[in-house]
């Protein structure tokens, strides 16, 4: 089955583009990354429920054991982690709701809804969250409670 579809795509698009796709889809990396390989194997026969704006793919297969029936294949193949799932898909993925992320995106507040950002802590000092008065916080808040008179302002 899998071989058949692979041969078909080689025939349609040529070997070069097939290999490139193989690499982009992470099949090469899956040889070393068991986790990814497991996901790839899991994907066979599952329905693709949706793709979010980052490219993460959400799969469902209802004849799997409950609890393993929904999963995500991260767009990022090398450095993936759970914080890359945006909040609208989080609920679907964790079976909190049956509404898919695309449906829930409608509920996102227009004016003050923030864009989702993955948690980059561990990637370097600048990505680590520091509380507002922390010494390393780049926007370190000024704790002085008064505003001094500045001589150069009005001179």
């Amino acid at each position: 089955m899998a071989m058949k579809s692979a041969l078909k795509s080689i025939r349609e698009r040529g070997l070069g583009s097939f290999l490139r796709e193989l690499k982009e889809e992470g099949f090469l990396r899956a040889l070393l990354d068991g986790n990814l390989m497991q996901t790839k194997l899991h994907n066979r026969g599952a329905t693709l429920v949706g793709v979010d704006k980052f490219g993460n793919k959400y799969y469902q297969k209802l004849d799997e054991q409950f609890g393993r029936h929904r999963w995500v294949e991260y767009a990022e193949k090398s450095r993936y982690n759970a914080s890359q799932v945006p909040p609208e898909w989080h609920g679907w993925l964790h079976c909190m709701t049956d509404h898919t992320g695309d449906e829930l995106l409608m509920l996102k507040p227009k004016r003050y809804g923030l864009e989702h950002r993955e948690n980059l802590s561990g990637e370097g000092e600048e990505f680590i969250y520091h509380s507002k008065g922390h010494f390393l916080n780049p926007e370190q808040r000024d704790w002085s409670r008064y505003q001094p008179w500045e001589p150069s302002k009005k001179e």
Binding site: R145, Y146, Q147, P148, W149, E150, P151, S152, K154, E155
Partner: protein, 746 residues
């Protein structure tokens, strides 16, 4: 238990040698076991054998004529009260605090919240105690099941339309509705319908409204704010609109509240409907540390409490002082505090050759000042105290400059040749609370509404209470009570003095006439002539009698009275023109135009205000919220500030700076502590040590030599142009800037 504690126990001699202490016997009373005997015991216990309760808040009863006393019984206690007391007042004297919402002792009685229901014997229904006069022999019961049930029912009605806002409400924690629903309310509500909601009103930059919180069913409206606005503040801006459940409070045309006392509606609102806009969502009241101090933004010296959190002043609230501000304060006092956080001077600075200021340390700054000062000739040294200076620092400044050989020390706003000899010539002799006895006012060149809002509230109270006549001489203004605008200048004054003016007969016919002269006239050249004319009126109109002194001066600044008491009087009136060294101690409003260009100016103060721009050296000092200082208010009452928050940056107390400077200059002042400086003050003006006491002037103006000079006929000006911005603190305040932009624009 520590060893030491054990040892000390063992060493302590036994208090009781009697072994009874160690063996506690359990005694049962067999006589109480039988039902008949115990009911008999209960019957005897019905006699009030509880300890007598003390009146609520130390309330005292004053009997105008003793034969009018009537006797009532509160919870069984016999009680003597004067005729005309309400049931609620009687209960307060008896020590029972009746819950109330709409009743406020300083406002008229509305009687519409029904929270104060009590049971009165032989009355078919519970009575609203705030509106019910006590009658002889009335038996009032405040703690019966009927009264409790009535309160619970009223509470439920009041909470019916009240939103569940407490977690986000600024009143939370100091809310009457919260407290009383805890104490008297039911633990559940039966209200299942929709709550009423009301659109919020814009009452200007100071008062925030959440009108839904004030919605109580039907017209049981608390309306304390309406009564305050019309009765005390004297503005007709707040009123009620609509009927029934559609009734709401409003400013008929969404008008901004133009009163200078509008902040007080925040305090008197028993729910969270009116809260402070600058304080909104800034802090919770239980996080705040209260410091009881006094206000220095005008000469009234209102008693205030500064609420601070850490190094920050969070808000200012009034403190009760019947003699000065009752329980109100002006908006300037209440909302100026954000000025304490802006434009602060926090480092000593020296102006370099390029005209820019550079921050230096104290040692260098003081060395430079001392060096320049020692080079100047004694008569070229001038010291000017600012309008916010405390008595201690003014004493230090005067002592220091006197040691340097100069006698040109004065306080701004007192004019070139102030009269500091006769104390009666610059204080309010009637006293602020004494104004209530007056029945005729003559305001000469003063607009108390902007110069001293609390004095104006007192005059308004008197005008309302006993229909006192008010005559006003000065530029046209809006005093918020009925007054006759007699004229604009000395011409009218002269007419009254010669008895040609009809208002003269009003003064001479009055029982307790009061003349108030504004301190703005101190700046006029012909001030002596004006004062002698006023004294002539006082003499002819019988204003000064042994039992009544109605001749007053209304001062403008907090420092003025103490400065004149300490004798801060310039030696020559044109010392500025020849000055080579000027020491400005917080003086921002001095006219330095005539100062020679080569003069060296030291500015010691807490704000970068007008005074800084001509300065060569800046010495940062602490503001009134950060230091302990003595101030004397316009009626001659000495009061002290207490530090509420730490000083900012490298600032120091005013007197400490001068003391340090004197040592660097080699003229060491002999005091090192604030106690030392106060004992020095004792030798100059002992009344400044009698804190919280009003020291009346002993000698009247009759001792003054006759002055034969003509009055200049130019009309009086107004002393305060902008009520909201009078000193460096209020000028730095954003709230005050908003107020003057929104409220003073006509």
């Amino acid at each position: 238990m520590g060893l030491g504690l054990l040892a000390s126990r063992a060493m302590r001699p036994l208090k009781y040698s009697n072994s009874r202490v160690f063996i506690r016997s359990i005694v049962s009373k067999p006589e109480l076991q039988s039902p008949e005997a115990s009911s008999a015991a209960a019957a005897t216990a019905l006699e009030p054998d509880l300890p007598p309760r003390s009146p609520v808040g130390g309330a005292r009863v004053h009997f105008p004529n003793p034969e009018d006393a009537i006797e009532v019984f509160v919870d069984g206690y016999p009680l003597k009260i004067p005729k005309g007391f309400t049931v609620l007042q009687a209960c307060e004297v008896a020590g029972v605090d009746i819950p109330r919402f709409c009743y406020h002792s300083r406002l008229s009685i509305a009687g519409n919240c029904r929270m104060c229901l009590v049971e009165v014997e032989k009355s078919p229904k519970p009575v609203a105690s705030c509106a019910m006069p006590a009658l002889p022999g009335m038996k009032i019961k405040t703690d019966t099941p009927l009264a409790k049930k009535a309160r619970e029912g009223v509470m439920e009605f009041l909470l019916m339309n009240h939103p569940l806002d407490c977690p986000i409400c600024d009143q939370g924690g100091e809310c009457d509705l919260q407290d009383q629903s805890m104490a008297f309310g039911s633990d559940r509500g039966r209200f299942t319908e929709m709550k009423r909601s009301v659109v919020d009103k814009n009452l200007g930059p100071l008062v925030k409204t959440v009108m839904t919180r004030s919605s109580v069913p039907h017209n049981f409206w608390l309306n304390r704010c309406v009564r305050f606005a019309t009765e005390v503040a004297g503005v007709q801006d707040l009123g009620m609109l609509g009927r029934g459940s559609g009734e709401e409070i409003g400013t008929y045309v969404e008008k901004l509240m133009t009163s200078e006392l509008s902040g007080n509606v925040i305090d008197i609102c028993p729910v969270g409907a009116l809260t402070s806009k600058p304080f909104a969502f800034k802090a919770r009241n239980w996080e705040l540390k209260g410091t009881e101090t006094i206000d220095v933004t005008d000469a009234v010296g209102s008693n205030i409490r500064i609420d601070s959190r850490g190094p920050e002043v969070m808000r200012i609230l009034p403190r009760l002082n019947e003699d000065i501000n009752e329980e109100w304060i002006s908006d300037k006092t209440r909302f100026c505090y954000d000025g304490l956080k802006r434009q602060r001077l926090n480092d000593p600075m020296i102006r370099g050759v390029d005209g820019r200021f550079k921050a230096v340390n104290w040692r260098d700054a003081l060395a430079v000042v001392a060096e320049v000062m020692l080079q100047a000739k004694p008569e070229e040294i001038v010291g000017i105290a600012g309008r916010l200076s405390d008595a201690e620092s003014m004493m230090a400044l005067k002592d220091f400059l006197n040691r340097m050989g100069s006698n040109n020390v004065w306080c701004e706003g007192t004019g070139a040749q102030p009269n500091a000899d006769l104390r009666s010539g610059y204080i309010m002799n009637t006293s602020i609370s004494g104004l209530e006895k007056a029945d005729c006012f003559l305001l000469v060149g003063t607009q108390p509404r902007v110069e001293a809002a609390m004095v104006n509230a007192r005059i308004r109270k008197t005008v309302r209470a006993n229909n006192a006549k008010v005559g006003y001489i000065g530029p046209a203004t809006d005093l918020n009570y009925d007054h006759q605008h007699l004229g604009t200048g000395p011409k009218t004054l002269l007419e009254i003095a010669e008895g040609r003016h009809p208002f003269f007969s009003a003064i001479s016919n009055a029982k307790n006439p009061v003349i108030i002269v504004g301190a703005g006239l101190f700046e006029r050249k012909d001030k002596d002539a004006i004062f002698s004319t006023v004294e002539a009126i006082a003499k002819k109109g019988n204003v000064i009698r042994p039992d009544w002194n109605g001749l007053n001066v209304l001062l403008l600044n907090a420092a003025q009275a103490a400065a004149l008491d300490l004798g801060l009087v310039p030696e020559s009136s044109n010392s500025i023109e020849s000055a080579k060294f000027v020491y400005l101690m917080g003086a921002d409003d001095v006219d330095l135009e005539k100062l020679p260009n080569d003069a060296f100016v030291v500015y010691q103060g807490h704000h970068g205000d007008h005074g800084v721009y001509r300065a060569n050296v800046i010495l940062p000092a602490s503001a009134f919220s950060e230091k302990e200082g003595t101030y004397e208010n316009t009626e001659g009452c000495t009061q002290q500030t207490l530090p509420a928050v730490p000083t900012v940056g490298d600032a120091r107390d005013d007197w400490k700076i001068i003391r340090a400077l004197s040592e660097v200059a080699g003229m060491r002042l002999p005091y090192d502590t604030i106690g030392g400086i106060r004992s020095r003050i004792r030798t100059v003006a002992p009344n400044l040590l009698h804190v919280d006491e009003r020291e009346p002037a002993t000698l009247g103006p009759s001792l003054k030599p006759e002055i034969k000079s003509e009055m200049d006929l130019t009309p009086f000006g107004s002393a305060v142009e902008n009520f909201y911005m009078t000193d460096s603190i209020t000028r730095a305040s954003k709230t005050m800037a908003q107020c003057s932009a929104m409220l003073l624009k006509k």
